[in-house]
């Protein structure tokens, strides 16, 4: 239930609006929001909203014979920090930006940093919410990158 729906029901409970008005408002709200999301999409959306940290872990694979030699790493980076860090790209001097774009172009990536906007950062961070990397190395380490 969205905040707006809750608010409408609260107004109805307080008898500040009638049942018909509440019904009409809820109908308008639902038609404005488009078709209802299916469970998987709604679940993904909820995960995106809740995503607070990017986690990087390196743990030993318990089934591997050299597991005891593996270093353990556990890094937790707040998503807000990622977002703030990305904003720093806008502070790059033009000369440096041109160099970065040129270097990327040389590597076959056609990406101009001047086109990056703040909305894009939010989209990037949201896209990260679905990231999940799970790598098992030959030395008995398990590297995981995920969002929680």
């Amino acid at each position: 239930m969205s905040d707006s729906e809750k608010k409408i029901l609260e107004l109805l409970e307080d008898k500040r609006i009638t049942v018909e008005e509440a019904h009409r408002l809820l109908g308008a709200l639902r038609s404005e929001g488009g078709p209802r999301e299916g469970p998987p999409k709604a679940e993904a959306r909820a995960r995106t909203v809740k995503a607070k940290y990017l986690r990087v872990t390196v743990q030993p694979d318990p089934e591997h014979e050299r597991a005891s030699d593996v270093d353990r790493v556990n890094i937790r980076v707040p998503m807000a920090l990622l977002r703030s860090g990305m904003k720093f790209t806008s502070l790059l001097p033009d000369q440096a930006r041109d160099k970065v774009s040129g270097a990327l172009r040389d590597k076959g990536i056609d990406f101009d940093m001047r086109n990056l906007k703040e909305e894009d950062f939010d989209e990037l961070v949201e896209a990260l919410s679905e990231l999940e990397v799970d790598v098992r190395g030959s030395d008995g380490e398990v590297v995981k990158v995920f969002v929680e």
Binding site: I75, A80, L81, K87, P93
Partner: protein, 105 residues
């Protein structure tokens, strides 16, 4: 609502050394701010001198570009935003002998 970090926890455990400390950032940040205010006339003079020297130069030096960027209002906002986003950051790494923890609260 973002808030500045309050504490920084550092823990370094080795085979024969065992160090750990809690840095009260809530006390250090006002000190840093006071220092910045005291130094602001020096910074202002440095900016003005470097700006004047590079005024007619079509290819300004790195120091001027960096100083210009760092002294802009946008940069200040970005630094404050970055600082206020650090609470929750935790780095915990250990091998057979050493264990390092850095945590911002």
């Amino acid at each position: 609502m973002k808030r500045p970090p309050v504490l920084l926890r550092l823990k370094i455990h080795g085979q024969d050394k065992r160090r750990g400390c809690w840095l009260p950032l809530f006390l250090l940040l006002p000190l840093a701010l006071a220092l910045l205010i005291v130094l602001s006339p020096v910074i202002l003079v440095a900016v003005l001198v470097l700006r004047r020297r590079g005024q007619n130069n079509p290819n300004p030096g790195v120091s001027r570009v960096v100083l210009d960027t760092l002294c802009s209002w946008r940069a200040t906002c970005a630094f404050v935003d970055l600082l206020c986003s650090t609470p929750g950051l935790k780095i915990d790494a250990h091998d057979k002998t050493d264990h390092v923890v850095i945590s911002v609260i």
